[in-house]
Amino acid sequence: MIRLDCPYCGLRDHEEFSYIGDATKTRPAHAGDASAEDWFDYVYIRDNPRGPHQETWQHIQGCRAFIRVLRDTLTHEVLATGLPHEDLSAKSGGAS
């Protein structure tokens, strides 16, 4: 069992959460001048790192908030949790 520290509810089993995915992807603004390449990158392309990964989870069976998690994809160790737009990359101990 992975345990995630929800900023609102505290430490909970990951079973209470829904996995949303890579948190580093930002949706291009509709009104902006995003190119087809920008959309392609947002929709389809992933870093898919073996190591620390910033990801969005939703506390679906708790407060229902979206949270950000920095988790190692090789060891499943949770390195940090935070608010959805918090950049946690500095907490990975060097790796991105």
């Binding site: 990951h14 890579d22 870093d47 898919n48 790192p49 073996r50 990801e55 994809t73 090789l74």
Partner: protein, 418 residues
């Protein structure tokens, strides 16, 4: 060379099985090769085998960071089928199934391909409609399919839940009689012996850690056993594709996820086919040793760990019990995980890459074992000719940029939903 027969078994029994010959060599890497394949799973081995056999290229190495077949090839639930609907998938997987049908002969190695049929269950009228459509499409493509009604399913699989209080009543099923299972290790071993005999060097304990580049070409791979030069290079590393591509600064429409598989304690013959649940994710067959081999969903979060988590065990087992309640007192003997290369549309990528002499074979999701011979066949063609075979032309990497998804399930660009 090692040949297996009742006679040779008997002969070796007399000498205490001490002088069996190696089935394939264990060579030191040469300075360079015409073609390097990274990854000695089924796909890498089949690619090398067909490169040598069909295209006459003999100066080939397959580099493997661990041991032959130790990746997903040796970790999967071995279901083989070709019940696809979309044009790009249907003909490719059917070719692969046809290759399976002759593989034991071709390799003179029993891969234990058992065409015991694969049946997907339907639990609603709309699911029956969808299966009728899929079955018709398959038959129009020359692929075998039979739509079964509830009575027919009950006759073939009386152990399913046909009671009045079944949570998901069975309406019928779609059966592919030519589908079945194969012996995963035997596939890796048979292909290895076949490729080795054609001169292919299989180099185990040799991890590719980086690349030497000149212009838009890879001139050599850096490995744990030194640098090795290459004319052309193919990746067949399944769940490690993202990690390996990152060494080239290449990003792909792929995420790595962990999928678990399970084996129960052995029991007398109960399930003589492959059957899949239609109301949850569960698929099961029975091995020759008697254990039920089954699986379900991936764990859902990105993972490069070859081990899964406990909540998914409960999830898979509860789906299984909804389908076959009589399994409730069975014990699980073993479970393990493999790292899946989940693509953004659920279909594989086999073809050229943005780098001139690099070819990609990845994105297999839950279902690459069945593709093993077909994947090798078309990947070898692609590498030898620097152009795809007609069977993998539609499974190219550019389709994502063009918005031309091959999304069999219609699940959208969410890799963990395929």
């Amino acid at each position: 060379m090692a040949e297996y027969s009742a006679f040779s078994l008997l002969r070796h029994a007399l000498t205490g099985h001490k002088d069996w010959r190696r089935a394939w060599r264990d060579p030191e890497p040469k300075k360079s090769y015409d073609v390097i394949i990274v990854g000695a799973g089924g796909h890498g081995m089949a690619s090398a085998f067909y490169l040598a056999k069909n295209h006459g290229i003999r100066n080939i190495a397959v580099l493997e960071k661990g041991y032959l077949g130790g990746g997903n090839t040796g970790r999967n639930t071995t279901i083989v089928r070709s019940n696809y609907m979309l044009e790009e998938n249907a003909h490719f997987y059917e070719k692969s199934l046809q290759l399976w049908e002759q593989l034991s002969d071709e390799l003179n190695f029993n891969v234990m391909f058992s065409q015991r049929a694969v049946t997907n269950l339907a639990h609603s009228d709309s699911q029956m409609d969808a299966f009728a459509r899929r079955g018709n499409t398959m038959r129009l493509n020359g692929i075998d399919a039979e739509l079964l009604d509830r009575k027919q399913v009950q006759r073939e699989m009386p152990y399913l839940d046909f009671s009045d209080n079944a949570r998901f009543p069975i309406y019928g099923g779609l059966k592919q009689p030519r589908g079945g299972t194969a012996r995963h290790d035997a596939v890796a071993w048979g292909l290895a012996r076949g490729a080795d005999r054609l001169g292919v060097d299989i180099i185990q304990n040799c991890e590719v850690t980086g690349f030497k580049r000149e212009g838009n070409r890879i001139t050599a791979v850096e490995t744990s056993r030194g640098d090795i030069g290459c004319g052309k290079i193919g990746f067949a590393v399944a769940g490690s594709t993202g990690h390996l591509a990152s060494k080239l600064g290449m990003k792909l429409p792929i995420e790595s996820h962990v999928l678990q598989a399970f084996v129960s304690e052995p029991l007398k013959p109960l399930i003589d086919t492959v059957v899949t649940f239609g109301a949850g994710h569960f698929y099961v067959s029975q091995s020759d040793k008697g254990g039920l081999v089954f699986g379900g969903d991936i764990d859902m979060y990105n993972s490069y760990a070859q081990r899964g988590n406990t909540p998914m065990i409960e999830h898979v087992v509860s789906a299984g019990l909804a389908m076959i309640p009589s399994l409730s007192r069975l014990r699980i003997l073993r479970h393990w995980g493999g790292v899946m290369d989940m693509s953004m549309d659920g279909s594989p990528i086999i073809g050229k890459s943005p780098i001139d002499n690099l070819y990609l074979n990845c994105g297999w999701c839950y279902g690459g074992f069945k593709a093993t011979p077909g994947s090798g066949w078309v990947f070898a063609h692609t590498i030898a000719n620097d152009a795809p075979h007609e069977l993998n032309a539609g499974l190219n990497l550019e389709r994502f940029e063009r918005g031309y998804m091959v999304d069999e399930r219609g699940a959208g660009p969410y890799p963990n939903r395929h």
